[in-house]
Symmetry: C2
Amino acid sequence: MKRTNYAGRTNESQIGEEVVLKGWVAKRRNLGGLIFIDLRDREGIVQLVFDEKQDPAAFKVANECRSEYILEVRGLVRERAEINPDLPTGKIEVEVKEANILAKSQTPPFEVKDNVDASEDLRLQYRYIDLRRPEMMKNMKLRSKVASIIHNYYDNNDFMDVETPDLTRSTPEGARDFLVPSRLYPGHFYALPQSPQLFKQLLMAAGVDRYYQMARCFRDEDLRGDRQPEFTQVDTEMSFATAEDIQDMTEGLIKRVMKEALNVDVKTPFPRMEWQEAMDRYGSDKPDTRFGMLITDLSDIVKDSSFKVFSGTVADGKFVRAICVPGGADHYSRKDITKKEDYIKRYGAKGLAWVKVTADGYNGPIAKFINDLAAPINERLGAKEGDLILFVADSFHVVADSLGYLREKIAHEMDMIKPGQWNYLWVVNWPMFEYDEGFGKWIAAHHPFTMLNEEDLHYLEDGEDPHKAHAQSYDIILNGNEIGGGSIRIHDPKIQEKVFKALGYTKEEARARFNFLIKGLENGMPPEGGLAFGFDRWVMLLAGADNIRDVIPFPKNSKGIEPMTAAPGTVDQEQLDELHIDVKDDSENN
Amino acid sequence: MKRTNYAGRTNESQIGEEVVLKGWVAKRRNLGGLIFIDLRDREGIVQLVFDEKQDPAAFKVANECRSEYILEVRGLVRERAEINPDLPTGKIEVEVKEANILAKSQTPPFEVKDNVDASEDLRLQYRYIDLRRPEMMKNMKLRSKVASIIHNYYDNNDFMDVETPDLTRSTPEGARDFLVPSRLYPGHFYALPQSPQLFKQLLMAAGVDRYYQMARCFRDEDLRGDRQPEFTQVDTEMSFATAEDIQDMTEGLIKRVMKEALNVDVKTPFPRMEWQEAMDRYGSDKPDTRFGMLITDLSDIVKDSSFKVFSGTVADGKFVRAICVPGGADHYSRKDITKKEDYIKRYGAKGLAWVKVTADGYNGPIAKFINDLAAPINERLGAKEGDLILFVADSFHVVADSLGYLREKIAHEMDMIKPGQWNYLWVVNWPMFEYDEGFGKWIAAHHPFTMLNEEDLHYLEDGEDPHKAHAQSYDIILNGNEIGGGSIRIHDPKIQEKVFKALGYTKEEARARFNFLIKGLENGMPPEGGLAFGFDRWVMLLAGADNIRDVIPFPKNSKGIEPMTAAPGTVDQEQLDELHIDVKDDSENN
């Protein structure tokens, strides 16, 4: 029997027609003489009816069926006596004339339904059953659809789809490279790419002009919520393009994806927000603009306050900033606020000052110190009776991190985010360098190949402070999540040399690390730039999923294990011998 | 200046228009007061004219230019005094009004032109220069174009683009797996996939129904001519499909690729040739049908011959077969033929018997023994005066391999292959198993998940010989090259168990190796099958290239090294410590 269409696509226009359907038994009810089966395929569910009197052979087959058996049926589409409004096929059913069991199934380890209560590891171990759930199938279809739009969009805009190697070379930048021992060259290793960054720049040197790739990338990082050791990047690069050109091109893609995959119209151009403003007002380089409650600077108002914590902070050249939580006075108890104070200490905050706004002025532990400034503070914050004001007094980064965290947290707790918003925006004009406290040195805020703003080039000269420079880089943000980022790259080898110097490399170190890129720059590199999207995360947001693993067909779990195949696994000593490596007995250290 | 279009796309319709172009200086001629520059971008070349009198500033810039400098120009398109018929833009030139050097270049290590005489390693080391050559750029564009058609085709045929993991588990089948040591789990390794075979089968169990992926695959094999350790596979799988369904779907793709990428019409359906016929008549499981010279069996004619080599071979149940080389008598000397005889000894042939056909009967060392059979032999072979007949008498495989090799070799030497042919065909009905002389055991001819022909299922029963079974598998051949292959898969766990047994696995071994697949079969696996294309090789043939590295942007050389980044490389001991491995000092053994 040749299938006529997907079960889930059966519809009213086919009433009276004969159809052949194939799918999984999702549900089965035996009403004595009549059996109803919900037949499921990737497009949905349709109800089958087996009538013992009319079609005894088919009925017998239906009677043998159990959950998740695979069935093929030939039957007639007919109107349903009782319409099921929850089902797209709810107006019809199929009267089965002939049926065959194509495959049997053991009792599945968990039910194939949304909101299943199986543990994630069990779901991942039986991923092929988990993916049958309508929600998961919807995610996979969305992912495929978005990939299709991406290919189509770039293919039609003169981008060339170019593949770059997965077996490449580890750079000393690449702590966290996955390594692959070479069989032919003892003691030598390939590395899996953390991104195709240098390859795509060299493709611009090759004259490819416009490049894109759905690139698999690998990073052996410590695992956190939504990180995966392998992930997919929509990688693009354009020659002779300005940052604006690249942003426009990207917006065109997003607009199409939103329309074609979700039927949502988004307005372009997206807002461009300066990095400085994002940090000042949202306390984040990935600002969520779906709600207000902006961070407001009060340093000038409190600089002479008798509250020494505030005035002292300002005197030290630091900042006193606040957010005003509308209606927060009743919502949060003193105890709740103390918990939040404990939390923000991880950002380096020494404390969380707060007042509740009442008809009679401020209320709370510091009220008596700043009641005299209530009028200008309230005015600037737009605070009114019943609001809660949270202050942090500290350095720029501590204030931003602390209030940025509180702003987001409280918005979620108080349900301030109206659903259905798709706030895309660009964060632009990033600092070129940032100081890494951990390493105790300056590092590249994006990567060492990022071009400075033209007007900041003088900072690279002797006697100036290079760390004041800003970069021609940009991140694309969706609802407070960074989904991509990029920059114009350095194409002049002399500028690249100065940037390497600002990062603390000697000439020799730079050559040792990036020889092939430097040679590329010396052999005719056009001005160029690009952008990379985190495909998995973007699809997660588009799907409305809150776990990145729900949009990856076979993800690693939070421990880096893929439970279905039980990877990683042990291997034969013979294999290791061929690769000239030994497993070290360092068990004491682990 | 904003580019108006690619240099190579400038055309007559733009005469009189102002254009802005950006590209590389391909050639420069200074005629004193006039400079001509060929400006190259990925779309081609256009001639720029700089006139010292009219535009002295632009002329000065042109005067500074050297090969491979990057230039932006603003100018007017005008008719060319002397048309260059070899150039698509040969009727026009651009009178430059304004010019800037965007990047300088060192003297390139080799000239940017086709048929460059640089060594391949130098070309690969400076790949970004090598890829500027028109031929290489054409290959990259073709590759991108074909990828685009593939995405479009499968996306529009209800296939879902699903990504499978690159960090997966090594199976004991997987000698030649690339391994990736785990940092989190000492002594454990991920393996890079040799193909997504089991994942795609399990996606069918998940109900994906139609799957495709442009999948990166990895195989740590000994390197040969056109093998790369990483390669790209167009991977597909379909549920509820017959072998014919999958072949039809594939033909639809090929037809579109041939039309849209090469403007060639190919006729579908492609011929289906039985494996047995391919081996009997072409001596190959990837027959080249662009020329005749088929292998012909003469066993019945020579079985009573006085030439004991022939009659004895037939008496032993083996074969005497021949090819007739039209006009071969004059083309090949006795010495030439002896060389060929030496060559086919590597296939196990004990000798190469031959005769030249003259007006007076056969001529050559064995002529006197078989002149009596010349009439029926000539008749069957269609041999005539001036032809050369080559005989091999041996077992089925030795005869096929030897005559198959000679057939191909001679066709190339004698220029028998008319260019411009695109002979696609299917080789079907393969043996299920083949005996591996090296391992001394039966192995799967395709892979252990291939379904048998229904009528051969009985061979799996006790007391029968499973190795007689044929499989529902098929290879797709283009001009004598295998470009893809596939099969219907086993979806019944009982049949899979019997096949594992025929391959010599105990139940426990099979479980240990393929546990997750077996579980998948037990949990509702639909009847299904699929096909995988070798993308690199197909593009190579479409491009008319004879080296697979010429269609891979950054390939490994024939020693497994990628000369640009110098991968694989050494890594810090610290990185190895983190991965719990040591490099073994086995230098004596290497």
